[in-house]
Symmetry: D2
Subunit: 446 residues, 4 copies
């Protein structure tokens, strides 16, 4: 994951970008940044941490200009360097440019190695920097041609926002794997953002989604913008946007995420055959589906697991004695509610299985007599390679264990998943989706 935003023709471009990034903080908390053009040069502020920690009235004031792009970076495992924050700004022969990116370029290693061999000096570990070097090295005259040429070499799922000092270029990959929407600011400017919840906060009006394979080019001071349909494929938005990534109040490709999640809960409920005293969501990820589930079966919903939202960055390592502490820092089940009850626990997914196992164990310790675990997505059997930081094949529990083995591992009395068909039915059958985590269909090919 990650979030991108682009703003143009607004006297408060960086402030709008800031609020949009704040609204999309759930898509990435590792680092954030904003680049702004004042018509003469591009200035960038970026750092590790959350939006509200990085920016303040003072430094944001220094980012004046009517064209801005911004980025939230998702915490990816392992090899993140101190410099791994976006946008990436550079000065090339055409002047200042800045680029930000949500997604994953599947041929990134080949491109990077070829560029290094050709003398390019990298300062980050991010595939986004590939595109910056490709643009800088292109022999084409205009930034537009250079950007198009660079994209022609990059295979993957992506949404790019690219700025020079007076234009904003926006590009969504041919399959539209990651979402990207276009809106109109109250002051007349344009905004593109990964999620519509960003529009809500700043009262921007949703215009339409950027189309898969479409490039939009906005010019400072101009009402019209250019649209180029660079690729034409059957769109396949990532199903995980509905399952987990997007905020419930976002509208992804015309569908309310909250309503889709409730539908997933309904579909889970329809095939649920046990009896239960009530339904308990794992907060916050399982709440929407749990509501759909409970409504369908007319079972009571109980918030019997309480979530602590004050979770900080660094936690002191607990003593040996406190084995459950890591999960308990976030989640605390309520014994008075759970004691002696048969419950249905709803969560959004099982990845490694370790968290589910701990939650079940905590619920048992709190007295739950019978625990039916219902997961609002299918079994995850394949690593995603299109911009989600999923673990390797070896770590994915459902890639290695049968449903029954997973149930046993987690310690639940029963375990049910959505089928792929039920998932698709929940989102809507009128189009295709990226379902690689479930079916292994890696449809983006070099």
């Amino acid at each position: 994951m990650c979030a991108v935003v682009g703003v143009i023709n607004s006297s408060n471009a960086s402030t709008y970008a800031y609020y949009a990034l704040f609204a999309m903080q759930h898509r990435g908390q590792e680092a954030s940044g904003i680049s702004v053009s004042d018509g003469e040069k591009i200035r960038t502020i970026k750092a590790k941490g959350e939006v509200s920690q990085i920016f303040n009235g003072e430094n944001l004031k220094n980012l004046n200009g009517s064209l801005a792009i911004g980025h939230n970076r998702y915490s990816t495992a392992g090899n993140s360097s101190l410099n791994d924050a976006q946008p990436i700004a550079a000065t090339c022969i055409l002047g200042d440019i800045a680029l930000a990116h949500n997604g994953n370029l599947v041929n990134k290693e080949e491109i990077r190695n070829a560029l290094i061999k050709d003398g390019a000096i990298f300062r980050t570990n991010m595939d986004t920097e590939n595109v910056v070097h490709l643009i800088a090295r292109s022999k084409k005259d205009s930034l537009k041609e250079r950007f198009i040429e660079s994209l022609s070499k990059c295979v993957g799922a992506y949404c790019f926002v690219l700025a020079d000092i007076n234009k904003l270029y926006v590009m969504r990959d041919r399959f539209g794997v990651r979402p990207l929407s276009l809106g109109r600011l109250k002051d007349g400017g344009y905004i593109v953002a990964s999620e519509t919840c960003a529009f809500d906060l700043i009262e921007a009006e949703f215009i339409r989604d950027v189309k898969p394979g479409e490039m939009l080019i906005f010019t400072q001071g101009k009402e019209e913008f250019e649209s180029l349909q660079l690729f034409k494929e059957e769109p396949r938005i990532c199903a995980f946007e509905y399952i987990y990534f997007a905020r419930p109040d976002s509208i992804v490709e015309g569908k309310s995420v909250y309503e889709v999640r409730k539908k997933m809960g309904e579909n889970l409920a329809k095939k649920f055959t046990h009896k239960a005293d009530f339904v308990v969501p794992v907060p916050d990820s399982g709440v929407s589906a749990a509501i759909g589930f409970a409504q369908t079966l007319k079972l009571p919903l109980e918030m019997a697991i309480v979530r602590n939202h004050y979770v900080g960055r660094t936690f002191i390592e607990p003593t040996q004695e406190l084995r459950n502490l890591k999960v308990k820092l976030k989640l605390n089940p309520m014994q008075p509610v759970l004691e002696g009850k048969e419950i249905v626990v709803i969560d959004d997914s099982i990845v490694r299985g370790t968290t589910s196992k701990k939650i079940i164990s905590l619920l048992r310790a709190a007295g739950a007599k019978k625990i039916h675990l219902a997961i609002a997505c299918p079994e995850i059997k394949f690593p995603d390679l299109y911009g989600i930081d999923t673990p390797t094949f070896e770590e994915l529990i459902s890639a290695n264990k049968s449903t029954e083995e997973v149930r046993e591992y987690c310690g639940a009395d029963t375990l049910s998943f959505l089928s792929i068909e039920e998932l698709v039915e929940s989102i809507g059958t009128e189009r295709a989706y990226s379902l690689i985590s479930f079916d292994g269909d890696y449809f983006i090919k070099e």
Copy 2:
């Protein structure tokens, strides 16, 4: 509000205090601190900010010792100085001491002025410092006698934790207005904390509540502790602990806060006579009552307002155009769910009325056709003086307007509150409560 914790006879005293403060972060985010005794001297680390920002593995390691006290400070308006963090540590003729406090001393100004007149030099604005000076100036021989003498001069609602280098003194006021519970750590030590949710996180076993008017004295290395019943009054715990302060998973005076809140929702529902499509809680404060309300009337519950938990400390002032931004930073209503619906909105309280007014306005903008606002507590007509930072009489909307006028101000179609009797019935009729915000009975007298 505020939170206190005391730990003794544990090799990880400061780590347990740290986790307990983390679990009670909701009781105060302005400042935090921990004082620890290693048997020779007391060291203190305290600062502005949240627990997870202030403490880290390195500085916590420096707080080694088997006796610790800690404090979370609630953000109070106006006159907070840079030094206003607790515990307050001092060296008196008896050696190092440290004191922390949850509550409010109603005669603090008289005591402070008398102390200043007598030459005491204050370095904070906190009434807690009164007690430190009183202890330091007492002519009694022992800290126990000095503490008791000091308390005899202080009128108010309070929970104190006091440490010298090898004893922990715990004191709850005669009415037990603020909660305080005693528990046992897994390593055999004792812990006292404002809320039982602190015990859950560190898997401490709840022993009993500290009694109103009771002083407990723990000694390092000793299994037995001393209990002194210094005062004897009919207990009156603050009803607001159930309404708003405590975490839903805490057990306050033997009652599950979550269950009490659901009961409040039930009592609201029983007298609700309108029809509605579904129930919407204002998250997170209204969720428990909304569940009780919805279950009682068999209405669907919809999470139609989404809360953003990434709220930082400093926000850039929005432009004029973004009038609703301050509320929207936290709360976003979902138009696809609300469009054309009749809804019941449940919140925990109305204080000034400004937030409720904005929420109603946002819900209308999202398309809600009819809005019934139901508040899970009675009308707040009097300022609290016992440790809650409520506004003045002039600012309390229900102190100045009739229910109908409040409804009109907020813009709701109907408005209902719990009656005082329904509130008491929700908590339990077997004892008395502090209800001053509702009935103006200021029962603590000098």
Copy 3:
């Protein structure tokens, strides 16, 4: 050592205090602070570090007001706490006050212990805080009476600057051990400062020295100031001000420090009977005396030891191999100049002897054939107790060794000191001096 400054009736009081402290940085680099009154309250900024690190345009702007006091703290060994910076500000029954102090109270422990026994809570390790508590606890009506009463209890060598919101009180001890001068700012305000070099920087006009035993009281907006001669003793300024502390460009009690030091060099030269190729000062402390010495004997002066002024706070511990590194970080002798020469090395004093020993060793390694070490002060045989941080009796090399033994320890070919009489003759015979380090006459008695 230490430096104090007081400014009144100036629209830039804190800025003048800042520059004065900067000019007197040599008197203390451990911590600095400024308190300023705007006529309503006193604000204080103080911290560890040098003046130019602590203050900047922004925080100094917040210190607006026409009355300011300031302090540089000298790095004293051992027990300095994080809070040990001055001025000490407090709010007492008379309102805000702030106090700063240069000197040493010889009965500080008795007073502090009595205050603690009486319930005073100390937050620093500085004897200055004694006086703040004594003022706060006095039963007298006015600050003037309280200050006088407090001073009557304190025995020692001191210069105090005390501010309330509209008055500046200045006090020099009865013997005038530490210097204190009064000047007039260009904008008409008054300034008192430990050294006249502070006046030079800000182009203030020297009026006169504050008299030993004199208290001056200045009032905001008033041209006249009050002078009270509280004590009457034969003045005895500390000879070390001339030998080492004061900047050469300061005028202490009417004498140019540079001229006095040159005179010391002359007196050393008059009794020097060896032959030498040239004179080498240990920079910067020995330069003035070396000039006097060289001029007297018509010997060339060579800057054959180079001083590096970029000495930072924390140095990485050198490896075993680099034994001379600590001295070499500051001082580097030049081999091309020294090779095969007979030289006279001039330094201001020998305290422990370790530095002199290393310098001699470095000079030998650089090729010096014969080294005559001449010290521009008498042998230090007694610890100072009046405000200088000299080592204990055991550590003072001249308290434990004969001149010949010291010479042998340092490795010089010859060693000469000023006699006490020569020292006095150098400064001027018309008055008495504090010579305790040389003669052990501890004339300040309780």
Copy 4:
């Protein structure tokens, strides 16, 4: 200016580099950095500020490895970016490299523009980065060949230190404009540094100067090193190294800088025909020449201007009234010494003339009756382009005014300069020098 250091075959490579940079702090205080190879990768720490502020025991410990290079950056006017600190580290196809540089590449703009045109992305404003890109883009196999090829494209005065993970490459330009010396560490390793004063501090043994046009290549673990004489020209070391840059205790090309400066003073004295009471150096830059001057004419030397070494980075803007404050922050003339005297003031150079004018004005205000200003270098009539940050032609006072006009501007009674011939005679007539500031002979041509 600037300073470079390279260390190899030492278990404390970064510590030695640190001390060497500390000893050469006078060559640049804007920024510093060290890159170290542990045989697997190169790590770099660099920042704005002085060496002792940037490095501490902790971060230096992280720089373990037996090969290190380091750099002090001189504060250059105007266009310095936040990133302008060296060494510049990069990963190219050959692995990690790091480069640091003292000097100036006269064709830097052409190279940079050509590189940008060819797609190179620059992250600094430093010409050093040109060479990094040239190395990365070279098609040669080895780093040695790539470095040589890159140097063949760069015209200018330079000393480079280049590291890969196990080799240290050192290069001095064909004319040897900037100094560079080779030494041996006590632990057997090699060190190269801009000045020999770096060797003194760490007790390294001077071996020889690196020859103009020579490249040295050291390999980890190998005693022998390779020497390649890449260019062969008549050497012309920069005369300013003797006049101003180098520390007096350094030996530059076999000459003691202190002795050369004394000789300059002697040559000034020989033609001095006025009478004077004594000689006053402008500290610290004029001291060595003043000693030579005074000795020659048997005039007394007086340190009548005192220098304050506690000069911080940021100073609060003085009020209008304090016109002389900026110079006085550093220099304070002593009125008791100067009053009514005829003096010779010795300084090292006149660049813009503004400082000299202020010093003369301060000396007059301190009572000096007659002021002879003698400058220990010729009139500076041409901007340097070979690594010294001199002002433009327009700003150089001697480029625009006659000697008499400069005297009048400064306010001195007489003014004398060294002639170019006297300068050369002072340094030594056996070889040529870079004298461009005086004669405008820009001998480095593309």
